[in-house]
Symmetry: C2
């Protein structure tokens, strides 16, 4: 299988982030949920506006709008068309969705950096976020108390040769033994909305089998991470900061097993939990704004996603 | 805005297609819908198997599985993870979704050909198909009698320099003035499944405003098509066959206005209607199997999609 040892001269020119407006607490940890009348579309467009501002770009400078989100806002059209309507109506900017659930942002960076490298696009707006609260099951405590609604966005541009910024390695794998460990079975093509009844209603809620996922990760992740470092020719101590998907409280159990000690990675689960596709770009944006990551620093974006999909990307910010 | 004048040395190595099992007729035209117990996942995996067979490849030869579908099978995980589970379980092939609704297949070719060109992947399985029948509104005759459930797939590979096969031009635009002309408002993030009641039930059905779409297309498409031909430096008479999205019976009205006379494009709307994301790859596969397209022929894939998104791609088969 091919992996992404290829370098791509791209730059994260600007990022933005937004949390939903309703802060609630579970056992001392804060979670954010949409206020009445607030929508995820509001949040992603706000985050996108902030990313453009930070990048000193306007929407008209963007060659492609990509929604890297795990869940649809509507079954039709794609999310990016709805973001386009809010932010770019009257323009002709192409809009598309790229989805690998929780690691959609990393996959979209991987894909769109190749398009930028190939000369197909030059400036891409990537937005992530999910309405986790739309399908949380109040009877499944573990997941009900884990997720927040939030959004984050990034302006990806071509980098000049004299700039340090580049993606130096990326790899994705999918282990579909875990395809049903994180899922929403009902509401779409396989089990339509109109088939919902009192008996199968639970199938329309988000369903997470935490222990099964942890076991699959424990079995597969260490080898994957070792392969990536070997192929990339990079050592852990060369990395300034690891931005993992904020999957769950188990982060502090898993990361040390993968060779990442305390303080080498962002753990913000206590602060806002799992924000699905927004987790990685939100934490990255936070790290940049707090000065934890500077231009030229080598960072690692990584995470697991429903699928079970894993993504690993080394980039020089 | 950037367009895709860049050449990509890629080849459609094999294609496959499948119709749902239940043939029904409306006013003498045939439509196909899923039989009880049959799922869209069955169809896309069957089509993918045929594409692999025709390409003389096995699933283990594939570097990436891409679902280029308009609608989700489940809200989580992504469609490609579910296809992976059926076809590639036990492997580590990465799986992702790329979505621009009805033109998802063209967008996926555009995106993945750049990844192949960049050396990120070498062999990509792209599958398309949608469960149109899951959300058709029996009270909206125009759309209820237009759609079929079907699937099509393609193996995209690197082409050797001595082969004629290549993508020579691609362009996508989104005009979100039409974002709500083709949509399913309910069932996902913006209007969750659990918000459905007797009063808003109609919002959970597919809704198409045929006349509005036609008017927007009439205003925008001619200029778009002219721009594409000019940028690509190609004349209409150099094209062996045009494969348009089988949007509706209006195809024979729109295509001549875009300068494509009778016999220069595939019109199969009478035979199976609109198959959403499967329309373009299904008709292309049919044209290849019927000998209407030979290796080295220049073909044009084009179409409109909910969004409103348009795609235009010139490729030498």
């Amino acid at each position: 299988m091919k992996n992404g040892q290829i370098k791509r001269k791209v730059k994260l020119a600007g990022m933005g982030r937004v949390l939903a407006g309703d802060a609630i607490t579970f056992h001392g940890e804060t979670r954010y949920r949409l206020l009445p009348g607030e929508t995820l579309l509001d949040l992603v467009c706000l985050a996108a506006g902030r990313a453009l501002e930070q990048a000193d770009r306007e929407i008209g400078d963007v060659d492609c709008i990509v929604c890297a989100m795990a869940t649809p806002l509507q079954a039709i059209p794609c999310n990016a068309a709805l973001v386009h309507e809010r932010m770019a109506k009257g323009t002709e900017i192409p809009a598309m969705d790229i989805n690998t659930t929780c690691t959609s942002f990393i996959s979209a960076l991987d894909v769109m950096s190749c398009m930028v490298e190939a000369g197909r696009y030059e400036t891409v707006l990537i937005v992530s976020g999910d309405t986790a609260s739309a399908a949380l099951n109040p009877n499944q405590q573990e997941s009900y108390e884990l997720f927040s609604d939030g959004a984050a966005a990034c302006v990806l541009t071509k980098a000049e040769q004299e700039e340090a910024s580049e993606i130096i390695y990326s790899s994705q794998r999918t282990w579909s033994e875990g395809a049903h460990d994180t899922e929403i079975r009902g509401g779409c093509g396989l089990l339509p909305v109109f088939s919902m009844n009192e008996e199968n209603k639970v199938d329309y809620y988000f369903d997470m089998k935490g222990i099964k996922i942890l076991k699959l990760c424990a079995r597969k992740l260490p080898g994957f991470v070792e392969d990536c470092f070997k192929e990339a020719g990079i050592r852990r101590d060369e990395i300034r900061l690891v931005i993992p998907h904020q999957a769950s409280k188990a982060l502090d159990i898993i990361m040390p097993r993968l060779g990442f000690g305390e303080g080498t990675y962002m753990n913000r689960v206590w602060a806002y939990g799992n924000m699905v596709s927004a987790s990685v770009p939100y934490a990255l944006c936070e790290a940049i704004q707090e000065g934890k990551v500077q231009r030229g620093d080598l960072i690692l974006l990584m995470g697991t996603a429903a699928g079970l999909t894993v993504n690993f990307m080394l980039l020089r910010y």
